[in-house]
């Protein structure tokens, strides 16, 4: 037990070492969770938005999948070369 207590006392500097690690842990985990939640929320919103409007959007058969020719060509800036993947 004493080894454990010695470990946590950090040679008397516990009041400095642990808060440093604690802030790092808190900040990094909050950032991780917030980022993941934001991704999940957006993905859900997108799914529901597309589910709610399949009639208008889904039927448009687009050759070769992906965006329609016009939309795809908008991806190019100067020369209207179609580059599908960013």
């Amino acid at each position: 037990m004493t080894a454990l207590r010695a470990f946590f006392s950090m040679g008397g500097y516990a009041a400095y070492v642990w808060p440093a690690f604690a802030t790092a842990a808190v900040v990094l985990s909050v950032l991780l969770l917030a980022s993941r939640r934001r991704w999940r929320a957006n993905a859900a919103a997108l799914a529901s938005l597309q589910a709610a409007r399949p009639g208008r959007r889904g039927t448009r058969a687009t050759p070769g999948g992906g965006a329609t020719p016009v939309a795809a060509s908008l991806a190019g800036d100067t020369a209207p070369a179609v580059h599908r993947d960013a």
Binding site: G11, Y13, A24, R84
Partner: protein, 239 residues
Amino acid sequence: MHRFANPARFLRITDAVLPWSAALTIVLLALGLYYGLWASPVDYQQGATVRIMYIHVPAAWMGMMIYSLMAIASAVALIWRHPLADLIAKAAAPIGASFTFICLVSGSLWGAPTWGTWWVWDARLTSVLILFFLYLGYIAIWQAFDDPTRAARAAAIVALVGFVNIPIIKFSVDWWNTLHQGESLFTGHGSEIDPTMLRPLILMALAFTAYFITVLIYRVRAEIIARKLRVLRLSAIEG
């Protein structure tokens, strides 16, 4: 920026990378903490507070590395108008700001026992503090514009201007510090760091990098989907 750029390739790549980076983060973090907190010697002078170095130094490295990455991504976005570069820079900023904040807090905690106060205008800490405000400026400019494409280009300019100024600010703050104060606590640990201390430092730095990649993937995906949502909602109005 292209409304219809198809980020399929990016999504495919990150699908593969995500599980690996997440697993790597956990493993490296565990190893780093084990070696950092347990299996490494105590400093003869500072005692156990030297362990804070394993958070403080990697966080400083990450803060500067991420800002450089943002500057490169911004340059790519401005010059080649690559539609994803903006999103990567925007997604990276909060992560960089968090690391810089961690670096400041851990720096203050590390110095407190020997300085007797919570903050000393040490050259390194002051530069990191200024870097923190560069991050805040970058994040603020994104939110200032209501049109995302304008915000993207304005933020790219801010990132590049900031990046050009970082060495000048670093030089002037270091120079200012030697003028007013001479020696500072941190110079000690730079050179004669023995290998047993170096190992946790590197492990923690790698752990932070893996963490950065993981969170960056989440945030960039959220941005891509957010853009699609905007496009869908806009076309709903036009349609």
